[in-house]
């Protein structure tokens, strides 16, 4: 509870600070607020408190909250001069991101479907505005509208699903729903099944899993890069946590029913994400499509439910978040310099900015899943999870997809190190250096000694 309250209060304070034109104070205030929230996260560890029967701050929720808060914190550090160049009213950006974060905290810790819905909407509405925040930019407007329409659509599915499940069980409470399934394991109400499928569709929209992914590339490309960073990392992590809480928790007794459609979704997501990412000429769109493929790997944890499923997602999401933050941070720097986010604009980066280039390389290796980076451990856990039931064909399929992934991630490495380009000297602000360094260190530590995060939940 403290976490949400802290974040919300920070959001209001930042809004008022903006009203009084205290633009210099915005970032420090936000950072202090988020660090406090992070402190509360640590304090509440192992507490397992239930608030008003609506929210449950167990270790699962806290761990994902931690990843979301740290990710947001790093993204805020990247805002230096980013919003200033675009608008005068930058306090709104800060506030909206903070509100979205508050929504996410609800999404990872809900105990009641109503809270899932409220959290999801708080997050989504903030994001609709953030996506279109460059109001004179056509692409940004398009992104916003597309995101809003698709989001509203998926909310409809989700809500209808919730309704059907309520109709079947008479409750929004996750535990009660699970208890219903356990008690009526042979006579589950027929309206429960479409409810599960509709909720799955709704949540798949949110996490950008195929075939409900159509909005992602355009929205990611049209939104300001920093917002894209936020959407593809932190938002996605929260979405997965919400997905997992419901399906690996309440709906687990019905696993045999929903695993078949999920398998189809996983295979489609992997295939479409990877193959389309392969043909991208634009770095940002490549990241967008590759983020679809990562959703596919993440869903692996739901195919075989074990007590480690939650933790596996946490490791993968953390690995993916930090690597993506590096990638987007470098993208923002390069785009500020060259005005383009195609692969060519990365040519020759290694010569002039070896440290930036090295960070980007480590990020790409992690996304591709090369050993000694966090990404490998994440993928390893996912493969291990599926292999426990010897679904070797699925793993073989995932391996073939991973190979495609290697190809396009290495395109970036090739551009950075092996191609001659304009040899642009990037100005790297201190905060960017901090973000890159922190993310690289986390990526490597998780890759070399993952024991620290493996049994967190």
């Amino acid at each position: 509870m403290n976490i949400i309250i802290t974040i919300s209060i920070t959001a209001f304070i930042v809004l008022y600070a903006g009203l009084f034109k205290a633009n210099k104070a915005l970032l420090p205030l936000t950072v202090v607020g988020l660090l406090t929230a992070l402190g509360f996260t640590f304090c509440a560890w192992n507490g397992n408190a239930v608030h008003f029967g609506m929210m449950q701050t167990d270790n699962f929720a806290l761990a994902f909250s931690g990843v979301c808060i740290i990710g947001t914190l790093l993204i805020f550090l990247l805002t230096q001069n980013y919003f200033h160049a675009k608008s005068d009213n930058i306090a709104e950006y800060y506030t909206l991101i903070l509100f979205a974060l508050a929504g996410m905290i609800m999404m990872v810790s809900y105990k009641n479907m109503a809270m899932l819905f409220v959290g999801l909407e708080i997050m989504s509405v903030s994001l609709y505005i953030l996506a279109g925040i460059r109001k004179k930019d056509f692409a940004s407007n398009e992104a916003s509208l597309k995101y809003f329409l698709m989001g509203a659509f998926s909310t409809g599915f989700l809500l209808f699903g919730i309704t059907l499940i309520y109709g079947a069980t008479g409750s929004f409470d996750l535990d009660k729903i699970q208890a219903y399934l356990v008690d009526h394991n042979t006579s589950v109400s027929p309206i429960f099944y479409p409810g599960v499928i509709l909720m799955m569709i709704g949540l798949c929209f949110k996490i950008g899993a195929a075939p409900f992914h159509f909005w992602t590339p355009d929205v990611y490309e049209g939104s300001p890069s920093l917002i894209t960073t936020f959407m593809s990392t932190v938002v996605k992590t929260a979405g997965f946590a919400a997905f997992l809480r419901l399906f690996a928790g309440s709906f687990a007794p019905l696993h045999d029913f929903w695993v078949a459609p999920l398998m189809v979704i996983v295979c489609l997501t992997l295939f479409i994400g990877n193959v389309t990412a392969l043909f991208q000429k634009n770095f940002k769109r490549m990241l967008a499509y590759s983020s679809i493929s990562h959703a596919g790997y993440l869903l692996f944890s739901l195919i075989v439910l074990t007590k480690n499923s939650g933790n596996n997602v946490l490791v993968y999401a953390a690995a993916y978040t930090f690597a993506s933050i590096i990638a987007f941070a470098v993208l923002i720097l390069v785009k500020q310099k060259t005005g383009s986010d195609s692969f060519e604009s990365f040519n020759g980066l290694g010569k002039k900015n070896p440290l930036v280039a090295l960070s980007l390389t480590i990020a790409m290796l992690s996304l591709a899943g090369i050993p000694l980076t966090a990404g490998f451990i994440g993928k390893y856990l996912m493969f291990l999870n599926v292999m426990t039931q010897y679904k070797t064909l699925l793993v073989a399929f995932a391996i073939l997809n991973a190979l495609v992934g290697f190809y396009y991630y290495f395109k970036v490495i090739v551009a950075v190190w092996f191609k001659d380009g304009a040899e642009t000297e990037l100005s790297t602000p201190v905060q960017y250096k901090v973000v890159l360094l922190v993310s690289v260190v986390i990526t490597l530590i998780l890759g070399i000694y993952p024991a620290i995060i493996l049994n967190l939940i």
């Binding site: 050993p371 292999m387 391996i399 190809y407 024991a451």
Partner: protein
């Protein structure tokens, strides 16, 4: 046990230090590689050549997943560890004439790769083995792609995707074995002790075999190799052919045979057939090569084919031959590529028809090159002879026809290598080769060392045979015993 940790991680420390040294990277990396060599020799002196694993280290690493830092050295490991630590300083020294841009990164990557290789060759934990396997791949990818020649990016991508495809399937096999293991760890002894039925063994055989076959490479998994060898910088080619190729052979001996003997029993024949096809095929293609570097690349496929056939023939002679030949091939092929590198760096060509008469202007080079060539074609008294003789004996025991066809490698090899030697070194000088200057300085040092090794090992191979004998015997007994229980 500290000795082994030092042995493995000294190159890594060296790599990190080298990465920050700038211009003096050459010297710093040489120092580290030589110290590593000395350390390896010290370990070899303290090594008791029996079947036991020595200098064992077993530390918990990722305990939650049953992963330990478990490494140790037996006779088989000792040989490849020695090879690695011997060749790395040689390869670094051989680069002294080159002025690679960004030397700190170049030498740092070589040392980083050495650490990965040593992990592969000492790992007794499958996960650790896999980590080392990949840790050796990443640096060589960068070495080849940054400092390589024409069309290097496309060629390297092919190489990388090929090898990583193999390793991912191996990873799948490893995970499967891990799940089968009731103790839920990656310990090699636990894997040995597994009782898998022949269907399981069959597909695990393929999961591992493809990874190893791509690395060696065995026909038809070899298509990445000639291009990559040609496009890589000279030192990269030496690393690939001299050491990295041995990862595949070592993997077969250490992991494939003992873990899935029934799989080897069922599919080993196919592996031998593929190897023998590779021998003939690569030899025939080597005949037609116009570029000396490509010729050596194809000859390498032929030699490795024989080694693979010897291993899958699965008897003491074949196995021992493979051991000696791993060492000999590593030394010889590095020598060959170094001579070609010397020629290339002076004349900017490796086209056989453009060369000729170098022996007249560079007699010392001609002599050392001759010794290396003779070692490669397995003249008695050179190191190549011992290995190929044992290997052929092993294959002969397996089947006379197999030996007859595999024996072609020696005849073919002699023909194309000597013809290459003749066209490059002998005859009249032409306008290009007249300017050739003889070897000096580090070139001499490296080539003389290689020649000395070729002759010493050829005349007195006993220490090497003795080093591996007990371990090989133990391995064969272990596997045969297991095979009997399966059938």
């Amino acid at each position: 046990m500290e000795q082994l940790l030092l042995l493995i991680f000294l190159p890594l420390v060296g790599a990190i230090i080298t990465a920050f040294t700038g211009k003096s990277a050459k010297i710093v990396s040489t120092v580290f590689s030589v110290v590593s060599l000395v350390l390896a020799l010290v370990i070899a002196c303290n090594f008791i050549p029996n079947a036991n694993t020595q200098f064992e280290v077993n530390l918990p690493w990722i305990a939650e997943l049953g992963i330990n830092f478990h490494a140790g050295i037996d006779g088989i490991s000792m040989l490849v560890v020695l090879l690695t630590n011997l060749l790395v300083p040689i390869i670094i020294l051989s680069s002294y004439k080159h002025d690679y841009k960004n030397p700190a990164a170049f030498y740092g990557l070589i040392l980083f790769m050495q650490c990965g290789l040593l992990l592969v060759f000492t790992a007794l934990d499958a996960f650790l083995f896999y980590i080392g396997w990949e840790a050796a791949l990443i640096p060589i990818y960068f070495i080849c792609a940054i400092w390589g020649g024409k069309d290097r990016i496309r060629i390297n991508m092919k190489f990388f995707v090929y090898t990583i495809a193999g390793s991912l399937f191996m990873l799948m096999g490893i995970i499967y074995l891990y799940l089968q293991n009731p103790a839920h760890n990656f310990d090699i002894q636990a894997f040995y002790a597994l009782n898998l039925d022949s269907a399981q063994q069959g597909w695990i055989f393929w999961a591992f075999f493809i990874a190893f076959a791509i690395k060696m490479p065995i026909f038809p998994f070899h298509t990445w190799q000639p291009d990559t060898y040609t496009a890589a910088p000279a030192q990269g080619t030496m690393l690939l052919s001299g050491i990295m190729l041995k990862m595949g052979i070592y993997g077969v001996i250490r992991w494939l045979l003992p873990i899935v003997p029934a799989g080897v029993h069922d599919w080993g024949q196919l592996a031998i057939i593929l190897s023998i096809i590779g021998i003939v095929y690569a030899s025939l293609i080597a005949f037609t090569q116009k570029d000396a570097k490509r010729l050596v690349a194809y000859s390498s496929i032929a030699h490795v084919g024989l080694i693979a056939a010897g291993i899958f023939a699965f008897n003491q002679q074949g196995m021992q031959g493979a051991m000696v030949q791993m060492l000999s091939h590593g030394i010889n092929v590095v020598g060959l590529f170094f001579v070609l590198d010397i020629i290339f760096s002076r004349l900017k060509t490796n086209k056989i028809e453009e060369l000729g008469g170098i022996a007249k202007v560079a007699p010392q080079l001609a002599i050392v090159f001759l010794i290396i060539v003779l070692g490669t074609v397995a003249l008695p008294g050179t190191n190549g002879f011992i290995g190929e003789f044992l290997l052929l004996m092993g294959v002969y025991k397996y089947g006379i026809w197999a030996a007859a066809i595999a024996g072609l490698t020696i005849i073919f090899g002699a023909v194309y290598m000597l013809r290459m030697y003749q066209n490059v070194m002998l005859g009249e000088t032409n306008s290009l080769t007249i300017t050739f200057t003889d070897i000096k300085g580090t070139e001499k040092l490296v080539l003389y060392t290689i020649c000395a090794l070729i002759i010493v090992l050829g005349v007195y191979p006993k220490p090497i045979l003795h080093l591996t004998e007990a371990s090989v015997q133990h391995l064969l007994e272990q596997v045969n015993q297991k095979l009997n229980t399966v059938n």
